[in-house]
C-alpha cells in the first residue's frame, strides 16, 4: 500500500480548456478518499491523471514517494475499476482476473520452457501462484462459481464484482474507482457500498474513489474532496463537510434534501433581515459583520413551532412521506423551503405553519452562489 501526493497538480486540455485548477492533495497510506462533485467538476480527470490515463499538465503526482508524471499506467502499480466495468468480453471471468497477472509474468515463454528446466519450473510456479491469487480473489468476492463464465452471462452486480476482483487480484499500491456503482440499481448499490467498505477494512488499502453521489461519498470516504468547476472546494471528513461546509456550494451539494438558503442582510443589531422578516441570529453569529449575507439552514434544522417569535410563516405545498420521517415542501415570503421532521398527525397540504431555525442549525455565508462560510465567533 502507499500514499499518494498531488502537488500543484492541474490539467489543461489541448484546446485550452482548464479541467482541473491547481490542487494539493495528500492521500495517506490506507486511506479511503472520495472525490465528489457534479458532472464536469474535474473529479474523473483528477483520478485519470493519478492512473496515468491523462497527461498531467501542471505539478507532480507521487505514489509512494516516486514521481509518476511520466510513468506508464501499467508501471504505477495501481488498479482501476471503471464505471462500465470494462471487462474483456472474449475472456472468461478467470481470464479477466488473471489477464493483468499474466501480462506481468517474468517467465511467459512456453517455448523456452521446453528447453530450460529451471525456466520451466519457475514458469510452472508462476502459473500456480496466478491460479491461487485468482481463486483467493474470487473467494473473497463470492464469484468462485462464475470463473468459467463470460461477462455477457453475468448480471450487472456480478460484473461489478468481477471488475473489483480484477483490481483485487493484482494487490496494487492503490485502488482507483471511477464511479463503479453508478450503473447498478439502488438496492444493489447500497449492498455493494457496504461490501466496499468491508473490503477496504480487510485490505487496509489506499483507495481513491470518484462519485457524483454525495450519499455514496459520505458513507464510503474517510475524507471527501468536494470539487466544483475544476476547483477543490473542501477537503475534510464527511462529518465536517456536512456540519461545517466551506462554502455555499458545498453546503448545497452535500445533504439531502438540499440546504435552504435565505439571501438577506445582517443589520447592526445582529438581526437578519429578509423579505420583510427580521430574524435574530444565534448567539454564535452575533458578531458577524453587518451587510449582505446568506443564511443556510438544513431541512432537519427547521422546527415547526406555534409561537411567531423568530419564526418564518409558511404554507405547506406538499408532504412527502418517507416512513420514519416526512419532508414538508413549503412556500414562504423567503422562497420555497424544505423541512424534514418526524411524521405527525394534523398536517395537511395548504396548512399555514411557523418554522424556526434551530440555534445550532444556522450557517452564514458570504453573499453569492459560491459565498464562503462565515466562521462562528
Amino acid at each position: 500500500m502507499a500514499n499518494v501526493q498531488l502537488q500543484q497538480v492541474g490539467k489543461t486540455y489541448d484546446g485550452g480548456v482548464r479541467a482541473v485548477e491547481t490542487m494539493d492533495l495528500s492521500i495517506a497510506d490506507g486511506e479511503f478518499l472520495v472525490l465528489v462533485g457534479p458532472s464536469g467538476c474535474g473529479k474523473s480527470t483528477t483520478l485519470r491523471m493519478i492512473a496515468g490515463l491523462e497527461e498531467v499538465t501542471d505539478g507532480t503526482i507521487s505514489i509512494d514517494g516516486r514521481v509518476v508524471n511520466d510513468v506508464h499506467p501499467s508501471e504505477r502499480d495501481i488498479a482501476m475499476v471503471f464505471q462500465n466495468y470494462a471487462l474483456y468480453p472474449h475472456m472468461t471471468v478467470a481470464g479477466n482476473l488473471s489477464f493483468g497477472l499474466e501480462r506481468r509474468r517474468r517467465h511467459p515463454s512456453r517455448l523456452r520452457g521446453l528447453f530450460d528446466a529451471g525456466y520451466r519450473s519457475a514458469r510452472r510456479e508462476e502459473l500456480r501462484s496466478i491460479r491461487e491469487r485468482v481463486e483467493k480473489a474470487a473467494r473473497m468476492l463470492g464469484i468462485e462459481a462464475l470463473l468459467g463464465r463470460h461477462p455477457r452471462e453475468l448480471s450487472g452486480g456480478q460484473r461489478q464484482r468481477v471488475a473489483l476482483g480484477r483490481a483485487l487480484v493484482r494487490d496494487p499500491k492503490a485502488f482507483l474507482f471511477d464511479e463503479p456503482l453508478s450503473n447498478l440499481d439502488a438496492k444493489l448499490r447500497v449492498e455493494m457500498r457496504t461490501e466496499l467498505r468491508i473490503l477496504h477494512r480487510q485490505l487496509g488499502a489506499t483507495m481513491i474513489y470518484v462519485t457524483h453521489d454525495q450519499e455514496e461519498a459520505m458513507t464510503l470516504g474517510d475524507r471527501l474532496v468536494v470539487m466544483h468547476d475544476g476547483i477543490v472546494q473542501q477537503v475534510d471528513t464527511p462529518d465536517r463537510v456536512y456540519r461545517e461546509p466551506a462554502n455555499r456550494f458545498v453546503a448545497s451539494f452535500v445533504g439531502t434534501p438540499t440546504m435552504n438558503f435565505f439571501e438577506g442582510s445582517v443589520d447592526s443589531a445582529a438581526r437578519f433581515q429578509v423579505a420583510g422578516l427580521s430574524l435574530s441570529l444565534p448567539a454564535a453569529h452575533r458578531s458577524t459583520p453587518a451587510g449582505p449575507c446568506t443564511i443556510g439552514v438544513r431541512p432537519d434544522a427547521l422546527e415547526l413551532v406555534s409561537d411567531s417569535e423568530n419564526a418564518i410563516p409558511c404554507s405547506i405545498e406538499t408532504i412527502e412521506f418517507l416512513g420514519d420521517r416526512i419532508d414538508l415542501i413549503l412556500n414562504s415570503d423567503v422562497g420555497r423551503l424544505v423541512c424534514r421532521t418526524a411524521p405527525r398527525s394534523g398536517l395537511a397540504e395548504g396548512d399555514a405553519v411557523l418554522l424556526r431555525p434551530t440555534e445550532a442549525g444556522v450557517h452564514l455565508f458570504e453573499p453569492g452562489p459560491d459565498g464562503a462560510r462565515r466562521s462562528k465567533s
Binding site: 492512473a51 496515468g52 490515463l53 506508464h72 499506467p73 501499467s74 495501481i78 488498479a79 482501476m80 471503471f82 464505471q83 462500465n84 466495468y85 470494462a86 471487462l87 474483456y88 468480453p89 472474449h90 489477464f99 493483468g100 501480462r103 506481468r104 463470460h150 461477462p151 455477457r152 452471462e153 453475468l154 450487472g156 460484473r159 480484477r166 450503473n183
Partner: protein, 287 residues
C-alpha cells in the same frame, strides 16, 4: 406483439428475390450433369428453364478435373494449390494489416490522423485500371512477374475498404477497455492482438468471406502476372479450359468445373454467416 415482419406476405418478395439469385446456380448445376449432346442441345435451343436430367452424369466432374491443363489431374491440382496459397495468404494478410491500420486510425491520437484517413479513403475512388500498368511495371522491375508475389504482397499493406470497416467497428469499442488493457501492461500492438482482433470477429468474418470470394474468383490479376501453366490459379485455369475445348462444345465440363470452383466460397459463406450478426461486444460494459 406480433411483428409486421413475421407476416408471411413479407416472405413473398424475399422468396422471389432468392429464387432469382439461385437461378444461375441451378442452371449451372443442371447443365453440369447433362450429357455432352443434351448440354449442347439446351444451349443451342436457348432453353432457360432446366430440369435435372433423369440420368445425371456425375462422371462429368471427374472428366472436367482430369482435363484441366496439359497434364491430366495435376493441372487442376496445381491450379487448386495456387489458388489456395494465394487466397489463404491474402485473406490472412488483409485481416491482419487492415485491422492493425484501423486500430491506429480509430484509437491512436497522432498528428494528421484525419488527413491520412481521408487520403486512404480517396484511394478507393481510383479505378483499378488506372493503377494496373504502373503496378505491372513496378512488379516487373522487382522480377516478380510469373510468381505469386504480386498477388499476395499488396494485401500486407491493407485494403482501404476493410480498414474503413474495421475502423468504424473499433471506434465503437468502449475506450475503457483500451484503458484497462493499458493498465494491464499492454502496448498498442498487444492491445490490437489481444483485445481488438478477438472483439472484431464479426468484421473479420465479413473481411474473410469478401476477400476470399474476390481473390478466389479474381481473373484479371492472375491473368496479368501469371504466364506459365504451373502458376495459374483456378480462375485462369477455368478460362484456359473453356478455350481449350472451343467454348460451348464442352459446356457441361465447364459448368462442372465451375461448380467445383464455387464450392469453397459457399462453404465459407455458411461457416462464417453466424458471425455477421453476432456481436461479441455484449457483456463488455454495462448495457
Amino acid at each position: 406483439m406480433r411483428s409486421s415482419r413475421s407476416n408471411p406476405v413479407w416472405y413473398l418478395p424475399v422468396s422471389i428475390g432468392a429464387l432469382l439469385m439461385l437461378f444461375p446456380i441451378w442452371w449451372m448445376l443442371v447443365v453440369s450433369l447433362k450429357t455432352e449432346a443434351d448440354a449442347k442441345q439446351s444451349m443451342s435451343s436457348g432453353e432457360m428453364l432446366q430440369v435435372l436430367p433423369g440420368n445425371p452424369q456425375w462422371g462429368n466432374y471427374a472428366q472436367a478435373v482430369s482435363e484441366v491443363g496439359t497434364e491430366p489431374v495435376t493441372g487442376f491440382l496445381d491450379a487448386l494449390a495456387n489458388s489456395i496459397v494465394v487466397t489463404v495468404l491474402v485473406v490472412a494478410a488483409t485481416i491482419l494489416s487492415s485491422s492493425l491500420v484501423a486500430t491506429a486510425f480509430a484509437r491512436i491520437r497522432f498528428r494528421g490522423r484525419n488527413g491520412f484517413f481521408i487520403l486512404m479513403l480517396a484511394t478507393m475512388m481510383l479505378p483499378a485500371q488506372v493503377t494496373m500498368i504502373p503496378l505491372f511495371l513496378f512488379f516487373r522491375s522487382l522480377g516478380w512477374v510469373d510468381t505469386l508475389l504480386p498477388l499476395v504482397v499488396p494485401a500486407f499493406f491493407g485494403s482501404a475498404f476493410f480498414i474503413f470497416m474495421y475502423r468504424q467497428f473499433i471506434a465503437q469499442i468502449p475506450e475503457s477497455l483500451f484503458e484497462a488493457a493499458r493498465i494491464d501492461r499492454c502496448g498498442w500492438f498487444e492491445i490490437w492482438w489481444r483485445i481488438v482482433l478477438p472483439l472484431s470477429r464479426p468484421v473479420t468474418a465479413i473481411t474473410a468471406v469478401f476477400t476470399f470470394i474476390f481473390v478466389w474468383n479474381d481473373f484479371m490479376t492472375p491473368l496479368i502476372y501469371l504466364h506459365s501453366e504451373e502458376q495459374a490459379t483456378i480462375a485462369v485455369a477455368l478460362n484456359s479450359f473453356r478455350t481449350q475445348f472451343s467454348g460451348i462444345e464442352d459446356v457441361h465440363l465447364l459448368m462442372a468445373l465451375s461448380v467445383v470452383t464455387m464450392v469453397p466460397c459457399i462453404v465459407l459463406f455458411f461457416a462464417a454467416q453466424r458471425h455477421f450478426i453476432e456481436g461479441l461486444g455484449s457483456g463488455a460494459v454495462k448495457g
